[in-house]
């Protein structure tokens, strides 16, 4: 039922960016950030509670601006999402990451 509501919500785009952010997260981020993958050279950090800390896993300040830079430009083995996600996509994604406790 939650699923259904989510889908309805998504269809009418009534739930704002967080819902869209979650869709984007599931599609582009979750594969690496949600489960350990022994194939990868470095294990990407889990992103729950990202904004609880004053710093991002990289040690940079936990600000929207810094996160945007990481998403757009990539960092270390994390690929850049430049030209793949629009500015609005990135905003929605950041909004969703704020909700991850």
């Amino acid at each position: 039922m939650v699923c259904m509501l989510g889908a309805l919500c998504w269809m009418f785009a009534g739930c704002g960016g967080t819902q869209h952010g979650q869709e984007l997260f599931d599609l582009h981020c979750a594969d690496c950030h949600s489960e350990a993958n022994p194939d990868l050279k470095k294990q990407p950090p889990k992103l729950e509670g990202l904004f609880r800390s004053k710093t991002l896993p990289s040690g940079a300040p936990a600000t929207d601006q810094q996160l945007r830079k990481t998403i757009v430009e990539g960092l270390g083995t994390m690929p850049a999402f430049d030209r793949r996600l629009s500015e609005n996509d990135v905003n929605d994604l950041i909004q969703y990451l704020h909700t991850l406790k």
């Binding site: 039922m1 939650v2 699923c3 259904m4 869709e23 599931d26 599609l27 582009h28 979750a30 594969d31 690496c32 489960e35 993958n37 022994p38 194939d39 990868l40 050279k41 990539g74 270390g76 083995t77 690929p79 850049a80 999402f81 430049d82 030209r83 793949r84």
Partner: protein, 298 residues
């Protein structure tokens, strides 16, 4: 509504169950662009597969060879995409043809692996992470393992996996100097517009643990777009850009010290297998090989 709600609950249940078992199941829907009956493979241009990958075109193994025979390029299909081993293994099951009307307009199946094993590598021009120009044929005297990526590839089972595997091979070879100096790794980006030498340098350093001296054994290169097409055709690599992402096949090529194609891997391999094949191929290299790449203009 009751029925739909129930369906929702069942879906949730299936998804939850899927998370705990070793295989996961997704629904794939798309158009078949090519098929390879010998390899039981269909190349499908598919829609988003939520939770697994965005829309793209790529080859899939099919478990049922009769289905591969029946399906024709141009067909719209629906299928179950099964993944195992954290997305490393994936294949299609239960293929349903939704629409056959596209058959006449479909492009003929692409012939892969233009260069046959045993043929010489042509003199194709590349530019590496330092902006240095070199040719594929410059590596004569060394066994070279080549793969193809683009740095923005976000899917862990694809380019990041290839680069991580090459990184492990690089580290393993560094422990045996004899093999290290008779081998070379070459990662070629088919996205020259984005993957400039400086982008490739940054990417390479991440996989070399910031040890820039590793570039003398592992080059990250690209070529101008026209030359890149020739390189792709030479090795049967397929790639095309659509909707700001690049769909591509995964290919690894082993070039023997004499500059001839020794072996291809297209769908299944392990890091250990690649490393062993590279070491074996290097045995044919002259033992007086000096350090650094042979013949590369510095």
């Amino acid at each position: 509504m009751k029925r739909s709600a129930l369906a929702g609950v069942v879906t949730l249940f299936v998804l939850t169950a899927g998370c705990q078992s070793k295989t996961k199941q997704y629904s794939l829907r798309g158009q078949v662009l090519a098929k390879n009956e010998a390899a039981n493979e269909l190349t499908v241009k598919h829609e988003d597969i939520p939770g697994f990958m965005p829309a793209m075109t790529m080859p899939y193994k099919v478990r049922n060879s009769a289905a591969v025979h029946e399906v024709q390029p141009g067909d719209l299909i629906a299928a179950d995409l099964i993944t195992a081993n954290q997305g490393k293994d994936y294949w299609l099951e239960d293929i349903r043809i939704l629409d056959e009307s596209g058959r006449k307009t479909a492009k003929p199946a692409v012939t892969r692996h233009a260069l046959q094993v045993g043929e010489s590598v042509p003199d194709l021009q590349l530019v590496n992470q330092d902006g240095k120009h070199f040719s594929l044929s410059d590596f004569k005297g060394k066994a070279v393992l080549v793969t193809f990526i683009y740095t923005r590839c976000p899917m862990p089972a694809f380019c990041p996996r290839l680069s991580s595997q090459f990184s492990k091979i690089h580290e393993a070879l560094a422990k045996t100097p004899g093999d290290y100096e008779k081998t070379h790794l070459l990662t070629i980006s088919f996205d020259p517009k984005y993957d400039t030498p400086s982008v490739l340098r940054k990417y390479g350093l991440a996989y070399l643990d910031n040890h820039a001296e590793g570039f003398s054994h592992w080059d990250f290169a690209s070529a101008d777009p026209a030359e890149m097409r020739k390189i792709a055709d030479a090795f049967g690599l397929e790639y095309f850009e659509e909707d700001s992402q690049i769909s591509h096949s995964m290919d690894i090529v082993l070039i023997a010290p004499g500059g001839i194609v020794a072996r291809y891997w297209a769908t299944e391999w392990t890091t250990a297998e690649l490393e062993e094949a590279l070491r074996q191929a290097a045995k044919a290299a002259p033992s007086h090989t000096s350090t650094g790449r042979l013949g590369v203009k510095r």
